[in-house]
Amino acid sequence: MNAVATAWLPRIPAVAVLAALPLLVSDFRLGVVTEILIFGLLAASLDLLVGFSGLPSLGHATYFGVGGYAAALVARDLTGNVLAGLVVAAVVTLVVALVTGFLAVRTRGVYFLMLTLAFAQLLFSLVQTWTPVTGGSNGMSVPSVDVWPGTSLDSTGRFYLFTVVTVGLCYLLLRRLVDSPFGRSIVGIRENEARMRSVGYATLRYKLAAFTVAGVVGGLSGGLFAQYQRFISPGNVAFQISALALIMVIVGGVGTLYGPAIGAAAVILLRDELSRRYEHWELILGIVFALFVYFLPGGLGGGAQRLRSRRAPMVASHSEAAPPAITQEIDL
């Protein structure tokens, strides 16, 4: 009981603020927060790969895009039920992540980077050419969704609340996963895959499982984003999405799960500010990206962690004490 209380008490203010937000801020800002939550979930799912499993994916937009198109097609052609859309998005990304992951987890290091990148790009050209289904490069509009008939989520406030609940649940599931024995297993594989085999682990299976979970959660965020934007185009699968998600993870700090969510806020706010004043925000983003690699390889979250570990060097819970995996040499 006490343990439960200590785990949940700090979360109450955060939950209260999130729940009260629609009363406090404008619809425009609420939309920005919704987008931050959705991308925060995408970044957290990518962190499961990059930070925890040591699998540096450059193509996480694959799952964001697959989930997005699946949810969009359900809303357009089958039912406006938001949950049906998300369930289908999850199932379809599950299949895609299993197939692509089966190939990808067999490779290492740079090959893994290239292969994940290639998957995303192949999907990109697929949705661009498969015009009858996807609307091609013009994209397709997505009808508004509802929880049940009559309870439409077409207002910014309602969709925001739905997003808070969905993203919150997914985040808690991810957190539980990294704190579980499975989480310890994938961190072990990140640290030393050969040693894991020698103590009995079928490491490929664990890597594929982590890859698939990351894909499904990424797919859910993609589905949410399509439902929120009421529109989807090949831009949702573009390389820029993969890169953006990776920037969020790096900026927020790899191997922390919450760091990438902070990174999502930082990157989206920065992008919005920049793009309002200046057309070429990608340039600035690229510079920020390079500066982070040079000067703050652990990201913002990693910096906070370094401070914390300076205070208590011996205390190390296995999930959060992960070293900035970005600096660690990928086992080739």
Binding site: R106, T107, G109, Y111, L113, L117, T129, F239
Partner: protein
């Protein structure tokens, strides 16, 4: 047998186009492969170099005259940019592949956006140099002379690179360094200078590919990412660090793309994916990849 001949006759143009595309990809893939093989760096800014090469052609030879000068400028610019990239990567040489890939990714974004600031967002077509305008008869069919020249130049380049790296002392030094970085230093070679030079050569090849490819592919924002991805697939299929792999992989991907679009446009993306997946299932390190390099 006759059916096969008929099939080839019917698809001569597609096959030649695939060869031209493949050889253009080779100019990109060979640089990626060499830089990775020697420096252990995945240079994701390689596509941006290709794009910049193409834009140099557009700026200096917009109507096809002065193409040779433009090529020289593009190559020089590529070499210079390669030197800059090598210097930028130098401080994080000891870090992991992901850090290096991320840095070059950031640089790719910067170069990509700078290009669209300088050259705009529109699609630009570039006519071939006037001496190579028009068409030639190849295998009984008219085919653009310029593309024939691209194929010829690509093959010549492949031969030169192959001879240079597989048959000369210089190549032997570089290959030895690929398999044992420490050895090069022990021999008293200035390792940083060699790395800088390889980066410059790889980058110059990319801008060269960009400018000679411009009259075939056109120039537009986003071309950098498209060619980067294709080059990465080539390297995955061919095997990192292998010249033969880069060439065979490039021609294979060029043909799969060209014939795939001609024969089955709806599933062309799947065909490309399928080709890559098939190779990887059988040989995860690529067709000509060195297992130890993976």
């Amino acid at each position: 047998m006759e059916a096969i001949v008929d099939w080839f006759n019917a698809h001569t143009v597609s096959i030649l186009n695939g060869l031209a595309r493949g050889l253009l990809l080779f100019t990109l893939a060979i640089g990626l492969s060499l830089i990775f093989g020697l420096m252990d760096v995945l240079n994701l800014a390689h596509g941006a170099l290709f794009l910049i090469g193409a834009y140099v052609g557009f700026s200096l030879a917009p109507d096809g005259t002065g193409f040779a000068v433009a090529v020289a400028v593009a190559v020089a610019a590529g070499a210079a940019l390669g030197g800059v990239l090598a210097a930028a990567i130098h401080p994080i040489r000891r870090r992991g592949h992901l850090d290096q890939a991320l840095l070059t990714l950031g640089i790719a974004f910067i170069l990509s956006d700078l290009s669209s600031i300088i050259w705009g967002e529109d699609f630009r077509a570039l006519p071939p140099p006037s001496v190579l305008a028009g068409s030639t008869t190849v295998l009984g069919r008219p085919y653009p002379t310029y593309r024939v020249a691209v194929i010829g130049v690509g093959i010549a380049l492949a031969v030169v690179v192959y001879v240079l790296f597989e048959r000369t002392m210089l190549g032997a030094t570089v290959r030895a360094a690929v398999s044992d970085h420490a050895m090069l230093a022990a021999l008293g070679t200035n390792v940083e200078a060699v790395f800088g030079a390889v980066f410059a050569v790889g980058a110059a090849l990319a801008t060269f590919g960009g400018i000679i490819g411009a009259p075939v592919l056109g120039v537009r924002p986003g071309l950098d990412w498209d060619v980067l991805i294709l080059a990465l697939i080539v390297v995955v299929v061919g095997g990192l660090g292998s010249i033969k792999g880069a060439l065979v992989g490039a021609i294979l991907i060029g043909e799969v793309q060209s014939l795939g679009v001609a024969l089955a446009p709806d599933v062309a993306a799947f065909v490309l994916f399928g080709a890559m997946a098939a190779v990887l299932l059988v040989r995860p390190e690529g067709l000509f990849g060195d297992v130890t390099a993976a």
